[in-house]
Every structure is written in C-alpha cells, then in structure tokens.
C-alpha cells in the first residue's frame, strides 16, 4: 500500500496502561491472521470495553481500531485491503461523530451509522453464540444413534439407482466447461495490470465530474468472468488509489462493503 508514515496521529488515542493491556494489544496484532475480517476484529476489540454490546461506545471502538491499524503499520505488518477499507470508514465515522452535523449534508448521521455498526456487532455475536449452542447440542452419531443394522431383512432384491445433487451439478458443470479442455494456450488475457487501469482511468477521469461507482470504470468485456473481473477490479482500485494520491480524484465509500465511488477532484 502507499506509504503514509505521517498522516495518522500519534499514540494519544491509544492509552496502554498496564503491562497486561500491552500484552493483550500485541497479542491482537501478532494474531491478525487469526481474525475473520474487520468485523471480527472489531468484535474482539469491543470486549475490552467490558459492557453490553448495546451500550458499546462506537467512538471509542473506532479509536481502538484505528490505533490497532496504526500499530500494525509500525510493526510493518501487511494488513489485508478490507481492514484498511474499514479503517478509512471508521475514520470517517469518527469525524462524523465528533463534528457538529452539517445541515447541507443529506447522508445518514454519525449516530445512525454508529447504531448500525453496533447492530452488526451484536448480530455477529448473537450468531456466534447461536452457533456455539447449536454445536453444544446432542448430536447424531455422537450422543444419540440411529439403527446400527438398518437393512436387517434381506429378501427381495431390487436395484435402484441414485445420485446426489452434487453429482448432478458437477455433471452439468463438466459438460458446460468441457470446451476449456481444447488445446491449451497459456493465457495472460485474464490479467488486467495496474498500468493498463491507470491509462484507462486517466482517459476517462476528465469526464467524471459526478460521483460514479468504481465498478463502472471496469473495462468492457471484463465483467462477466469472475477471474477477469477480479483482476480488473483490483487493478482499477489500485489505480484509483494512485490517482487519489496524486490529487486527481476523490474517493468515498458509504459503509463497509458498500460500493466505492470516485469523482474528479473539483478545481
């Protein structure tokens, strides 16, 4: 990712008080691979507040997360893109929560966004608990058992044929992808490079006065095949970061996983 040693503030927000806290904080960082995405990390961080998830301070949580990302950077740990996207969103949320609302702004208020994040965390926690309760139930083959000798009377023999849904779907997939097994050509045509994306976006960005979704900048013919789309999406996203760094465009995202939008930076 782009180097940005100076733009996130000092450690003021992150008050490491005791050794235990420090150890816990570092354990989080060392373990970053153990998290299943930013929401999972946020949920773990929220436990340090030791309150009901309904009473969680989202502002404090945002600060904890930003401090976490900051420290991960100091330790030169590579964070996956979705962690950084979440960090950007939380920084935005934090500013919304701290600044007085702008009457001209039509978007949702900081409180609404915070409430939704709290809801997402509570729901994820609820599903975790539900999963634990489910797995804690008596289970067939472990706690209770089916008949050990099901076909205990062997008399009339009749052959039936069976197949599973997986067999069916795989058979179909096999037929429909058979064409792939034509003479093999090494294919690089599924890779869209960042240079290509930059070139393309430079050509288009002059016309982009209004917010438009990043995905609308994907090159034609690259949307339908997932491999090509992924490559084109990644390259276009990287190119848009580069353009933003050069001050040519602005980026915004309403919410985690929401579409990313860009526009030409107004003169």
């Amino acid at each position: 990712m782009a180097d940005r040693s100076d733009d996130i503030g000092d450690d003021d927000d992150f008050e490491v008080i005791t050794v235990a806290d420090r150890v816990a904080a570092e354990a989080l960082i060392v373990d970053v691979d153990g998290f299943e995405g930013p929401l999972d990390l946020l949920l773990t961080l929220s436990r340090t507040q030791k309150v009901d998830l309904r009473r969680i301070s989202v502002l404090k949580l945002a600060e904890q997360y930003l401090a976490f990302v900051d420290r991960a950077k100091q330790l030169r740990l590579e964070l996956a893109a979705d962690y950084l996207v979440m960090a950007a969103w939380l920084a935005f949320l934090k500013s919304r929560l701290l600044l007085p609302p702008d009457p001209a702004d039509q978007g949702p208020s900081g409180e609404e966004l915070a409430a939704h994040l709290a809801f997402q965390l509570e729901r994820l926690q609820a599903m975790r608990d539900a999963a634990a309760r489910l797995m804690g139930r008596d289970q067939l083959g472990r706690d209770f058992f089916a008949r050990g000798t099901p076909s205990d009377v062997a008399r009339v023999r009749r052959v039936t044929y069976t197949a599973t849904l997986l067999d069916l779907m795989q058979a179909y997939a096999r037929i429909r992808t058979r064409d792939e097994f034509r003479p093999f050509v090494m294919d690089r045509d599924k890779v869209f490079t960042m240079e290509q994306a930059l070139e393309r976006m430079r050509g288009l960005i002059g016309f982009a006065g209004d917010w438009a979704e990043l995905t609308s900048y994907l090159p034609e013919g690259w949307e339908s095949d997932p491999v090509r789309r992924r490559s084109a999406t990644a390259a276009t996203f990287a190119a848009s970061l580069e353009l933003a760094k050069q001050g040519q465009i602005e980026l915004r995202q309403g919410e985690t996983f929401a579409p990313i939008q860009i526009r030409r930076k107004p003169e």
């Binding site: 995405g37 999972d40 599903m127 489910l134 008596d138 706690d143 099901p150």
Partner: protein, 217 residues
C-alpha cells in the same frame, strides 16, 4: 412382492387393528436409519392404515425408554436416548471437524433461512470462503431454497431434514434461542443507513422467513 400381495386383499375390507398398525410402524422404523414421513409409512403399510395415529401411540410407548421415537421435520425415526450416549463409544462416528467459518455459516443459514450468500457475508463481514458451502451441502445439512425475488434472483440456502436429525430438532422453530433472537430484532435484514435499497427487497426476505417459522403451535 409376493408376500405383500396377499395383504391387499384383506385390506380391501378393513385396515388392521390399531395395535397391529403400531407394531408395523415399530418394525419399519426400527429397520430404517433414515427418517420416514407419514406418507412413506402409509405407502408401505396395508391400505387403510393410519400411520400418524400409530406413531402417536408408539411415541408414547417409548417415552423414557432406551430408544425414542423422534419427530424430525415432517418425518419420524427411532434414535437412542441422548443420556445413554456414553455407552456407544464404539459406534461414535468421527466427523470431519468443521471450521469456525463453516459452523458460523451453518448457524446463520439455520437462523436466517432462507438466506442468500450476500446476506451471510453481510452478517459475518467476510466473504464465504470457497468450499464452506460445498462442505455443508456435502454433509447434507443445507440445500438450495427458492430463489429470492429480488434483482439478480439470487439463490437461497435453507437447512435440511438431515440437519434437524443430526442436531435432534423437531423443526427449525426449535432452534435454541430463536424466539429471543427474533424478539431482539437480531434476525432482521436491516440495510445499512443511507443505502437506497428498494424497500421491497428487505421485506421479501422477511416474509419468507415468516412463512418458515410462524404459525403452528
């Protein structure tokens, strides 16, 4: 077939007495590992039998015994009493250990069904990893439900009778804590503020769920 053909003649006149029907249901359920529906039982019993009534009697008879007559979705099976599991170490089947992602995905499908892949990802905050859904389908714990009537008509997932059987549930309504979760609004499909979702979108999902869980009782 030859034996069976003797019975239909009798049954043209009247069904066997209920005590006999209960014995028949007992024999069939004992011999079968898979749950059987009332319709399947009736199809195998002589004409005029009422498997549902026989089942109710049989279930009562086995109350408190070492094996029990269990309702699984709309089917029935005999299973050993859970408190005797400790006797069955030799029968215990080592199941492939499910990943945390698979367990969470399964719980989300069970509690939110019918649910789309995008909704699962929204709840977990990460993509559903390759193979997770595959594994749950292979275990026959989930299957495809109706497509959602929203743009793109995405496929939905629901849990199966095999899931209910495995976890000893009569129906998906008996999932632990379901009522509390619903009362707390945690099973709602709440779009993030500021997204210009068509209001119909969210409701379609909830209607489906209502159909699934409400009524009865």
């Amino acid at each position: 077939m030859s034996d069976a053909s003797q019975h239909p003649e009798e049954s043209l006149f009247e069904a066997p007495p209920m005590g006999e029907q209960e014995r028949m249901v007992e024999a069939i359920l004992f011999a079968t590992a898979e749950p059987l529906s009332v319709a399947e039982l009736n199809a195998r019993m002589p004409h005029g039998c009422d498997a549902a009534e026989a089942l109710a009697l049989l279930r009562k008879r086995y109350q408190g015994r070492g094996v029990q007559v269990c309702k699984i979705g709309d089917a029935w099976a005999i299973r050993t009493a859970p408190d005797l599991g400790f006797l069955m170490r030799k029968e215990t089947v080592e199941t492939r250990k499910l990943s945390r992602a698979a367990i969470e995905t399964l719980a989300i499908i069970a509690y939110h069904q019918p649910v789309t892949r995008a909704e699962i990802e929204e709840i977990r905050g990460v993509s559903v990893s390759r193979g997770t859904v595959d594994q749950l389908i292979e275990l026959e714990w989930i299957r495809f439900g109706r497509r959602r009537m929203t743009p793109g008509r995405p496929v939905t997932y629901v849990v199966t009778q095999g899931f209910l059987d495995h976890f000893g549930l009569e129906s998906a309504r008996d999932l632990p804590g379901l009522k509390e979760l619903r009362a707390a609004g945690l099973l709602e499909n709440r779009p993030p503020p500021g997204t210009m979702d068509d209001p119909d979108d969210g409701e379609a999902g909830q209607d489906d769920q209502g159909d699934m869980f409400e009524d009865e009782s």
